[in-house]
Symmetry: C2
Subunit: 512 residues, 2 copies
């Protein structure tokens, strides 16, 4: 080691590390770790039985969407008004046609993603109206911010998917926004992306834009977008989301059916109660995708937290949420569908220790549980109200560590290192031994955020916090961004489609 | 909820929360979670076989302690000079007399602790020469600082054990320091404590002081202190530590045999290689305790990290360290001895997001792995050079969350909450339902560090970070400290013993 780590080089590298942009993109994770099951089989069976009781006895409301009611009636459910009572076992049986795993095709085939099985995919924060960085503070998101986050997600090695809408471009009228958002995803990155439709119209536009890019026939056999479908917990789906679900499923595009349940508000104040509600809602929503088109790809999602019983505000990274993440993955595996959960959720207003504790207590369980799609894995602050530039690159660094963890332990001769122990023997050290010199450059993940220098060096360097170092990293990344390029004809076709759609849409807060 | 959470009360409680001292002490953890095994049985067997190869072929050096060599020779080991070659399987066989679980008796019987089995005990940082808080910065530790940390550990609900020496009282000559340290533990808290002897003399003083307090006969059947025994990795025990080990074992006091291995420095640059070395060293050290006194309580310890291949500095909370923590607990369970590992380790110089990420990636795996004694669980900063007041209370809050997680999921009727779901039904909310009102005050752990208020309220409150809020918490705790009291005769006896010992010790850097 002495030949590689002179004091000079150490200092220089330490300073360089502070603005080091990551380079090579990782493929999505193929786990070589066991999946951790925290819930006993007895507990799983109680939750599953109670979910069936909810479906049959209480029922789920499918509001303002007669087509969904028609499908349920035809399937043999007991439909009373908008309330659908689903006989025990029916939803589970309908789900048998859903694929256990599926591929989402990207513009760049090297970035195609598998969902399900031993695959794990990290995807950034979705949905915040605000963005923040430590210089400009907290402010409304813009299209430029969104495109910046798309570029960061494109570059971050362990962010495999471009996610949903990392921030709302608030300057664009809400009923036209989805067009610019979807275009930006397709244009500034060649990895796969999610759509976050709020209506059937949004979903139809997302599908049409994807058809423009990939060809209409291609989509019938190749899912290229994933639509995020939220229930209105407890026990309701509304017509807007149902329209979007039917649009995506009918075109063989993927859907993620995800209740957003904060214990004590949209769900009971206990983990088992919330899981029961989540399972009932996802069973109903996922079964509906199969009624629309058997075989349509669908993911069981959970978004879990609890409300603070002191302030009523959402909390994340708590023990209850950790348990619900583990349990969601177990429930999905028993249904043989891919699972979405977790992320880097937190309540903190800044990327401080609270943010990191809460995020780590969400992300590590997510990885250990074997969740397949990890949304909100990077950039989330303040209960999801804010997409933070600094938090984004800090979380992306953590995701890369999780990917390293998922590789499992190296048990090759190199990993066992018995010869190294023989070579060094008692009372010496491994700094300069042959095994260390042969392997030290590749063997550990090198964080681009963490500072490992001495207190004295760190003081000389200005006593920066992780958040301050992260500020340098995202700026360097944006400066280094390389456009993946796009066929000009495809680009023009997408822009033409958007212009035609915008011409018929009047600026509005909502649309149908 | 509306009847309990008026806006006024919410604001008042939010402000109060910022300096809320915890109240009720928790008993040590009895896990109701499965233990997570990340290592395959194949991997475990490879590591165990390689450890036996090390013991037999390379051997372990027991330096400057003829008595240890005599014990090994008498047991049938192949002793060449100070190098002991231990035949395959011998160490493991000798360990059969070590207890699978044992109780450590405290001054307050309610705070007796179990080590082993389903028990987990959290213990604070040990060993730093420096302390820090955000007002006075980083400075050498003093006896007053140590006593402050003992008081904080005494009060923090989920810090079950007073730990080792939270900071070195640097103003006291090193060869007398252990007396004031051990007295402070016995005097300012009535929970159990560790001793961190550096020599046989220190260990003898710790035992003698304990005999003064508990009675000499009592100790023979009741372990009351745990001695931390470090090997000099790789593959060496020195005479000072061996003397301490023999002192503790011969008096039936507990020992923790713990190599401190940073991958790439004291161990190979791979996780499997380090684990092999750790297992070989702990097998040899623990077996020696049984040669000294069969049945003496002993704990298998690991302290794991890696050196940064860029700066040579220690790193913590990395994927490799996470794997080694899981693996250590697995290896200990197969040996049927309690395990010590983990903690809230980090490299960061401040209690920022880096510190929290690294600590969480150490603490959560420790809890999931089923580690029995979690040292360094609170207060650790900067690779263990610094005990931080703010980090202490932040970590203690995390420990309490881990304790909540270890309770497992409530599957009682209350936990299942099916009646609550029936009561609320589709499209409503759980804020005011009977189940929520009956349970919300007790059901979730309430952090005393995390801020869950709105951005606006947080701004009004001065935009504090977690570290800044923690500053208020530890001050409030110290102000609220209540002396557990001590029998004046016992106190006098201890002080008298210390005065007599100090009278015969000349101030010195080292002693024997």
């Amino acid at each position: 080691m002495s030949r590689t780590l002179s004091a000079t080089r150490r200092g220089r590298e330490s300073r360089q590390a502070r603005a080091r942009a990551p380079t090579a993109k990782y493929p999505y994770i193929r786990r070589r770790l066991p999946t951790v099951e925290l819930l006993s089989s007895e507990a799983v069976e109680v939750i599953e039985a109670n979910a069936e009781t909810i479906l049959e006895e209480i029922g789920i409301e499918f509001r303002r969407d007669p087509e969904s009611l028609r499908l349920w009636r035809a399937a043999g459910a007991d439909v009373r008004g908008e309330r659908v009572h689903i006989p025990r076992g029916m939803a589970r049986r309908l789900l048998a046609t859903a694929p256990e795993q599926f591929t989402l095709f990207a513009r760049n085939p090297e970035r195609n993603l598998r969902f399900g099985g031993d695959a794990t995919v990290f995807s950034p924060v979705g949905g915040p109206p605000f963005v923040s960085d430590i210089e400009r503070g907290r402010r409304y998101g813009t299209l430029e911010d969104l495109q910046n986050f798309i570029k960061l997600a494109h570059m971050a090695p362990a962010i495999h998917f471009s996610g949903g809408c990392m921030c709302e471009p608030m300057e664009i009228p809400p009923n036209k926004r989805h067009l610019d958002v979807q275009y930006s995803f397709f244009r500034y990155s060649d990895q796969g992306c999610e759509a976050t439709p709020e209506t059937a119209g949004h979903a139809a536009d997302a599908v049409a834009l994807a058809q423009t890019l990939f060809g209409a026939g291609y989509l019938e056999a190749h899912p290229v977008v994933l639509g995020n479908i939220n229930s209105n917990s407890p026990l309701v789906y509304d017509g807007r989301m149902l329209g979007a679900l039917r649009q995506f499923a009918s075109h063989n595009q993927g859907t993620i059916v995800v209740p957003a349940v904060l214990a004590g508000a949209m769900g009971p104040v206990t983990a088992a109660g919330c899981l029961t509600e989540i399972l009932a809602e996802t069973l109903a929503g996922m079964a509906l995708t199969q009624l629309v088109r058997p075989g349509a790809p669908v993911i069981l999602g959970s978004f879990v937290g609890a409300i603070s019983m002191r302030t009523g505000a959402p909390t994340f990274g708590t023990p209850e949420a950790t348990q619900m993440i583990f349990a969601t993955a177990q429930l999905a595996r028993r249904l043989k569908v891919p699972c979405r959960s977790g992320g880097s959720l937190c309540s903190s207003k800044v990327a401080d220790a609270q943010a990191a504790f809460e995020s780590a207590h969400t992300l590590l369980p997510t990885l250990l549980a074997g969740v397949n799609l990890v949304t909100h894995a990077a950039g989330w602050l303040e209960g999801g109200l804010v997409a933070s530039y600094e938090k984004f690159v800090m979380d992306a660094d953590q995701c890369a560590m999780m990917q390293q963890l998922a590789r499992g332990m190296d048990l090759s001769e190199r990993g066992q290192a018995l010869d190294a122990i023989r070579e060094v023997g008692p009372g010496s050290h491994f700094l300069g031994c042959a095994h260390t010199l042969a392997n030290f450059e590749t063997v550990f993940y090198q964080s681009n955020i963490a500072d490992y220098s001495s207190f004295e060096q760190w003081t000389l360097d200005g006593r920066l916090t992780a958040e301050q170092r992260a500020n340098r990293v995202w700026k360097k990344m944006l400066a280094d961004y390389q456009d993946p390029g796009i066929d000009p004809a495809q680009d023009e076709a997408m822009l033409d489609f958007i212009a035609r759609r915008k011409a018929v849409l009047t600026d509005a807060i909502e649309d149908e």
